[in-house]
């Protein structure tokens, strides 16, 4: 094994520039003659635009242009789109309302952009923005998704009566009804999966530069998937043909889903750059980010689980209303359907599942994928149901899960997925050991002695990631393929450039992808560079989301490495004057089997290019190969997280005192990086469970519109986490990788709530479980003082 190969906790190559302040984030990049954009945004949740008066603003110092939606339409810039078609149960297509990059006839949420000022400086643009007078005709707004379909509710888009985007379902309703009829016990829960603001610490930004001579655009953009951005901006917005639009996503400071999407601001920056003939920069401030970066979650759900007397799960029935906000976004239709209901089987053998999902418009910001995207919502439903059922049936929650685990693979669930490999008993057992489950009763008694209520909660989660087999995605309504591509360029001197279609915004690809090459070719990672995030360099790519870069992107890399090795062996055969079939390649050395004849890596790479030792008509010179890899299945990471809390009955404060995570991610390339992904994902899940929540008032104003009002988890929210792994290899890709990016955020919220409800003795608690919420629940449950046993 190479010292920098697979499985080694190699320190990250990219860190040198980040720890010295030498990263290149979009806002760090400047172009000569650059101008600045400031967006004029709607202060109303729902209103008609009667008129826009830009006269005064246009004459202010430094102002180059004040542009609005009518001009955008006149220049034939198309609408933003949702790229995943969902059909309702009656067969009708989803109701995608027009989403212009600048609103021209009406605004549908606070923050909806209506005009843009382009000026010499940001301060001048901002000053002029204050002087753009928009005359609005206010309309009643609908904010609460549970009320959006009621008769008489304000109607947002003509195309969508009753604000309903689709009424979708999956599963067999009659089969589920029969399961419930035969049940000895039914557990019921009403769940609100709270709305979250992604809050990557780098705000979104766009720098657009139109070259008037070549009629080409360059866009530097905080994007998780620059090729998809280029495709959408070209094919649907009609800004420029793809070959005349270059999108560069340089260093990107976190994404968590929110930077997958194509937003109005980058589209307007491109268009404005062409209008004014100069580069245009826009950098979101945090207040704008709260208003317009796509939010996550926001489900209202009623869920029921049918069980027999022994605690065997017979069926699950779920009805969810998903709030998609004022406009659909790129993936927003898929999140509460195929990324949600397909996970309702959890780790369990359940023969009947039926789920209905109504997606609705409201006068709030768009909702789309946020770390986990649908899978955290599903896991919350399943893991809360299982935990509550165990309590109601007086079965130990670990034992309850064990009784219902899927134990043989492959396993076909009633909701599409075929789980390929896993060992759920193993991860549960390891987690129980690491968390010292047997010692919990003693810890609970000790907590009671110092006035605290201690509780324990489980989450044995599964997720489907490694998005995704293209034909399967297409059959479910997806508008693109979800393969990944790679190009490996071996230079004459033996150094290697790997151009990948996935994108890193914190995941450490420059290190982990290089480790795969190092393992394969025996070269140190310092002689391998990973190139990503530039449509002019990388042949194509679908970007990074859905924990796909390892499972799909590295599989594309392996496929390209296979081709490089095959070609290099042909060259080596000529150099060693041996038959190609006799060439062996090990630790960076090519040798002839059974002899001491060999040539090192650098000898083969040089000769591949100078081409003196073989006939260039029979074997092409050079050593560069490309690949497109389309996965054959989703991947199914799974594991067990255990949370212990101590609740202070005086204040309702729930402190997480212990966290144990045991995950099966398949083969791990870099354990240090994987642990980091778990820590971060769990922290986001704990944030959802304990403190985060986007709150709109009834008029549609975002009450939690800054870091002063929206509670981002801080360092003192968390205990030191205990992290372990188990291993079953993923059988569907060459490295056996399942993926790890989202697991923490998927697993953790139900573990926290299960622990708090275990501590306080009532199931009636909503996320975020703030001290006020917990204290109020305690008053109802009567368990306001610890019972010292």
């Amino acid at each position: 094994m190479s010292a920098t190969g697979i499985g080694v906790a190699v320190r990250r190559k990219e860190d040198q520039r980040f720890i010295t302040g030498k990263g290149h984030y979009t806002d760090d990049i400047n172009r000569p003659g650059q101008t600045y954009a400031y967006f004029v945004r709607s202060p109303h949740a729902h209103a008609t635009i009667k008129s826009i008066d830009s006269k005064q603003a246009s004459s202010m110092p430094g102002v180059l242009a004040v542009l609005n939606g009518a001009e955008l339409a006149a220049d034939k810039i198309g609408n933003l789109i949702c790229g995943w078609m969902i059909h309702s149960k009656d067969g009708s297509p989803m109701k995608m309302a027009p989403h212009p990059a600048l609103a021209s006839s009406k605004v549908c949420h606070v923050g909806d952009p209506v005009a843009v000022v382009i000026a010499e400086t940001l301060a001048q643009a901002r000053d002029a923005g204050e002087k753009v007078n928009v005359d609005y005709g206010e309309l009643p707004a609908i904010i609460d998704p549970a009320q959006a379909q009621r008769p008489g509710a304000p109607q947002i888009h003509e195309i969508a009566p009753n604000n309903t985007i689709y009424q979708w379902h999956i599963g067999d309703p009659a089969g589920v009804d029969a399961a419930f009829k035969s049940a000895a016990h039914v557990t019921k829960l009403d769940i609100i999966n709270n709305r979250l603001v992604p809050n990557a610490i780098e705000p979104r930004a766009a720098l657009a530069d139109y070259d008037t001579g070549n009629e080409t655009f360059t866009l530097w953009n905080t994007s998780q998937n620059p090729h998809v951005a280029r495709l959408v901006i070209s094919a649907f917005l009609g800004m420029a043909p793809e070959h005349k639009l270059r999108v560069i996503a340089p260093d990107v400071g976190g994404g968590f889903g929110s930077k997958i999407f194509i937003y109005p601001e980058e589209v307007v920056a491109l268009w404005a750059s062409r209008r004014v003939g100069r580069p245009v920069k826009w950098v979101s401030d945090r207040s704008e980010a709260f208003l317009v970066d796509a939010h996550g979650r926001d489900h209202v759900t009623h869920a029921e689980m049918a069980l027999d007397a022994a605690g065997k799960i017979l069926g699950i029935r779920v009805k969810t209303i998903a709030n998609l906000g004022a406009y659909m976004q790129v993936f927003s239709s898929a999140v509460p359907t195929y990324l949600y209901a397909t996970l309702l089987s959890g780790q369990y053998q359940i023969s009947q599942i039926y789920c209905e999902v109504d997606a609705v418009y409201t006068n709030t910001n768009s909702v789309d994928a946020y770390r986990g995207a649908g899978r955290p919502e599903a896991t919350f439903v399943v893991e809360r149901l299982v935990e509550v059922a165990a309590r109601e049936l007086n079965i130990d929650p670990a034992e309850m899960r064990r009784r219902n685990f899927v134990k043989t693979f492959p396993h076909q669930t009633p909701v599409i997925f075929a789980y390929d490999a896993g060992d759920y008993d193993a991860s549960l057992k390891k987690a129980l050991d690491l968390a010292d489950y047997k010692g919990f009763a003693k810890r609970k008694r000790e907590a009671a002695r110092h006035g605290k209520l201690r509780g324990i909660g489980f989450s044995t989660y599964i997720e489907a990631c490694g998005l995704a087999p293209s034909q399967a995605v297409g059959a479910l309504g997806g508008g693109v393929g979800q393969w990944e591509s790679c190009e490996v360029r071996v230079n004459p001197t033996g150094s290697i450039e790997v151009l990948v279609g996935s994108h890193a915004h914190g995941q450490g690809h420059e290190t982990t992808f290089a480790q795969v090459v190092s393992e394969r070719f025996g070269v140190p990672i310092d002689s391998v560079s990973i190139v990503h995030g530039d449509t002019d360099k990388v042949q194509f790519g679908m970007g990074t989301y859905g924990s796909r870069s390892g499972a799909v992107g590295m599989s594309a890399l392996v496929k390209a490495l296979d081709k490089v090795e095959a070609k290099a062996k042909k060259v080596a055969a000529h150099l060693l004057e041996a038959a190609e079939g006799d060439i062996e390649f090990k630790d960076g050395n090519f040798s002839v089997a059974g002899t001491d004849k060999s040539v090192p890596w650098g000898g083969v790479t040089l000769n591949a290019y100078i081409a003196h030792k073989f006939n260039g008509q029979e074997l092409e010179p050079g050593l560069k190969e490309t690949s497109f890899y389309d996965p054959t299945n989703f991947t199914f990471p799974a594991g067990c997280h255990i949370c212990e809390v101590e609740v202070d009955p005086e204040t309702g404060n729930a402190e997480i005192v212990a966290w144990t995570a045991v995950d099966d991610f398949g083969v791990i390339i870099n354990p240090m990086i994987v642990e980091g992904q778990i820590h971060g994902g769990v922290a986001q899940g704990i944030g959802q469970a304990l403190c985060e929540g986007a709150v709109y008032d009834q008029g549609g104003q975002l009450v939690t519109g800054s870091f002063m009002d929206y509670a981002m988890p801080r360092a003192d929210y968390f205990p030191t986490m205990t992290v372990g792994t188990t291993l079953t290899k993923c059988p569907s890709n060459p490295l056996g990788i399942k993926g790890c990016g989202e697991a923490g955020a998927i697993a953790s919220p139900p573990a926290v709530i299960n622990a708090i409800t275990n501590a306080i003795g009532t199931e009636d608690i909503a996320m975020p479980a703030t001290p006020q919420t917990v204290w109020a629940a305690l008053q109802k449950s009567g368990r306001s003082l610890p019972h010292a046993a």
Partner: protein, 165 residues
Amino acid sequence: MAAVSLTVNGKPVTADVDPRTLLVQLLRENLRLTGTHVGCDTSQCGACVVLVDGKAVKSCTVLALQLEGADVLSIEGLAPANGPLHPMQEAFRENHGLQCGFCTPGMILTAVDLVRRKGHELDDRTIREELEGNICRCTGYHNIVKSIAAGARAMGSVPASKAAE
């Protein structure tokens, strides 16, 4: 416009700025020191932390004109050019204390100030409480806490002239 003279990363700087210019704008836009980041507009996130006369300051919260005669150290000046990394930088790399890197400069400089105030042996609780003004969305803070503890110890075992920075 108004003039201000100060020292940035050991070099004298004089700039003619719009009076509303913030220190972070002076650093990023006038001096092109883009390692100092802006993550919010309410002085909560700490991505813009620099050292002013040795103390951690959110550079989005001070006007450039307030810094006449001040000694400012940004992330670019923490380690000598072409020299070894500062022990706190090294600790962040060694302990995987960063992912996307955006909050990192502010975290590192906050940590250096923390060591100045609280010494080289920092327990977990102290570090977590002292990070109240710095938000990270990637790491769950776990490895940042580990990095700071290790960096603080390392700063105690290198020559005082370097560790004092």
